[in-house]
Structures are given as C-alpha cells and as structure tokens.
Amino acid sequence: MHEMSLCEGILQVLETESVKQGFSRVKKVWLEIGDLSGVEVEAMLFSFDAVTRDSLANGATLNIINIPGTAWCMKCSKNVTVKQRFDECPDCGSYQLQVTSGDEMKIKELEVE
C-alpha cells in the first residue's frame, strides 16, 4: 500500500548518498525486505520504476533480498519460522511468539557510477 512512499524514501536516500559519496548514477539497488514488513514486492518493483524515472536512478534495477520471518516461541524456547504476524508456533501451536526477524526494510547496497 505504501510502497510508493517507500520508494520516494529510497530515492531521498540515494540523492543524499550521491552527494556524500560522490556518484552520479545508480545502476542497481539491493533492498532487504522482511516477510513481516508488510511490503508487497510486486508493488515495490512497479513503484520504484515510476518514482525513479528521470532521477539519478533512472532505469536502475531493483533487487529484493527476502528475509524470512522468524520468531522466538516462549513455550518451545526456540526460534521458529513464521509467515505472518499472527501465525501460531508451527510446532506447539502457541501464539506466544516474539518476532525476531522479518520486519526489515533496508537499503543494503548500491551499484553506482
């Protein structure tokens, strides 16, 4: 839903970094997006092209590194994989889970000129 705003956020970061690190063109962008971050990857790819048009990242490729959702199950005392926030523990069925990863939304690295 908010992928467009996220892409605008990415572009802002790119523009700031281009001044700081002295590059003029961004060719590839790697993002880390967690399964639990609420980001729709398809929408992200679509918005990225639209938002970066005529910018320093015009035509840049967006690569998405998926981070699986994991949570700590209080009952089993171990890490388990979850697909959504309200998932139960796949082993014991408990809902007492503390999400430990998968809510990332990060710009990891760039290929620039």
């Binding site: 908010h2 705003s5 956020g9 926030r85 309200f86 710009i107 690295e109 290929e111």
Partner: protein
C-alpha cells in the same frame, strides 16, 4: 568464504564486479552480504568501496568504473529522524502525543469530539487532524473550542513525521498538554510511519469484522491500546467480541482493550482514565527534567 565470488567473509566488496552480482540475487545462497553475523562494522555508513579512480586504476582492462556502495540504511530512516525530533520536542514540553489510527468510518472523530467535550476543562488538549482532503474534521474539533490543525495529505495515505513536525510549528500545543493526532483512516500504511507519538491507539468499531486484527496485523501489532467502539450496537450485530479480543492478543499479546461507545458514553471513563494515567507517567519525566534543569 563466500560461495559465489570467493571473497572472504567480513571483507568489503569488489569493484568492477560484473560477476558478483549479475546472477539472480537469491537469498538462499550464502553470500556474505546477507550474513548477519559477519564481523565487518557497518556502523560507519560513510565508507565507500572505490577500488579505482579511473581507467588507469581499473583492476582489469575493460572493466567499468561502477562500484559498490554499502549503505545499510533503513528505508524509513528519514521519517524516523523526523519522528525522533518530534518525540524529543514532546518530551521537553511535557506533551503526551497519541496517534489515533483506524479504518475510515470507525467513529474516530466522534469519539474524539466527545472525549474533548468531557476532558477539556480538566486537561489542556490539542488536535492534529489528518485526512486526504477537506478541513471538515478540524472544523468539527475547533467547534469544541480546542486548538486543532488540519493536515491534508493529498495523494498520501498516511501522516508522516515531517508533516507532523511542521504542524507542530503552526499549532504550538501548550506545555503539559495532551495532543491527539488523528491519522488518515487507513489500517495499513500508518502502522509503518512513526510520528514521534508516545502511543498508537487503534480504534475498531463493532460494525466492522471481528477479524480485522488479523487481517491488518501490522496496525494492531503497533498499537498499545485498542478502543472497541460502537458497542451500543452489539445487540443488532453478529460481532463476536471475545473472538475479536483473542485475535488482537494474537498479534499483540500486550495490547490493552477498552470497549466503549462514543454515542452512549459507555466505557468512556476507562479511556479517560487511561489518558490521565498515561499523561501522569509522561509528566514524571517532564518534571524531573525540569527540576534538574537538563
């Protein structure tokens, strides 16, 4: 060692790298860039990985001058900076900021106007209203005699930290006041955008589905308090309150839930009590800061 390009773990990137990244970037492989445990320190975001300044420095003939830049920045980093600035401003002024989030039509504004009517003699209140268009809501609030400012997001589906920061400059809420920020009616996007508030308060009405907490888990996960509104209509509806509460606790075991009706006033006292208690807690901080002159 990296199984793709053979670079050692903890080392930074290779310039010219047509090879390391032309493969489809798939998270399954053990490429070190995704390794959370490697020892390379990413806290200094300024370093670059420039292994050649011009053709003479290129490692091999024919390689371009493209280079890798690791930035490791949160996409919402900019918003979070604005939010942090707002939060620190709220703290120094002893203001309790509450971010009210819900779907459109859950009765946020009616709940707020009633709440203001009941509390305005007791507490110093101010309101920021977020809507895509029209200043109707801010006008409704101003009729109660309380300071209110409308933000129209235009095409935007949520308020962000930057908008709220500007609104504060204009609104100038008094020290020690309670600031309600009524977000755009939307259960998706406002969850991700921190405004600097002390708490997100989700409002869900019983005319909606009881499964909303699991349909929109991010929002109910982010909220500290859930106000279940319009409970006066329960006799006419199939809404399963217990199931709704169970769903909400599934996504957020620590969430507090108050059932109320802005129309009949049922349960409103519990909500006011929560505001008073929360405000007193935020004032402890404020007073101690003022006393020590920090």
């Amino acid at each position: 060692m990296c199984t793709v390009c053979g670079c050692g773990e903890g080392e930074t990137h290779i310039e010219g790298h047509e090879h390391p990244h032309d493969h489809q970037h798939n998270h399954e492989h053990e490429h070190h860039h995704h390794d959370q445990n490697h020892t390379h320190n990413h806290s200094h975001h300024d370093h670059t990985h420039d292994y050649g300044q011009g053709p003479a420095h290129a490692h091999a003939p024919g390689l371009s001058q493209t280079r890798m830049v690791q930035i490791e920045q949160d996409i919402l980093g900019k918003n979070n900076e604005y939010a942090a600035a707002n939060r620190s401003w709220f703290n120094t002024h002893g203001i309790l900021a509450l971010n009210l989030v819900s779907s459109p039509g859950s009765g946020k504004t009616s709940l707020l106007t009633r709440c203001i009517d009941d509390l305005k003699d007791e507490l110093n209140l101010a309101v920021i209203e977020g809507d895509q268009q029209t200043a109707n809501d801010a006008e409704r609030i101003r009729e109660t005699g309380v300071k209110a400012l409308q933000i129209n997001t235009g095409k935007g589906c949520h308020l962000d930290g930057h908008m709220v920061g500007h609104a504060l400059e204009t609104l100038q809420p008094d020290d020690g006041s309670v600031l309600f920020i009524e977000n755009v009616g939307n259960l998706v996007c406002p969850a991700a955008f921190d405004l600097g508030e002390a708490h997100k308060v989700a409002i869900l009405s019983v005319t909606e589905g009881e499964d909303k907490p699991i349909k929109y888990p991010d929002m109910f996960h982010a909220a500290d308090l859930l106000l279940l509104n319009k409970v006066d209509l329960l006799p006419y509806l199939d809404f399963d309150v217990d199931l709704c509460i169970e769903y909400a606790r599934r996504v957020n075991p620590g969430i507090k839930i108050i059932q109320l009706s802005a129309t009949t006033g049922e349960g409103m006292d519990s909500w006011y009590q929560w505001i008073r208690a929360t405000q007193q807690i935020s004032m402890i901080d404020y007073k101690s800061t003022a006393a020590t002159g920090v």
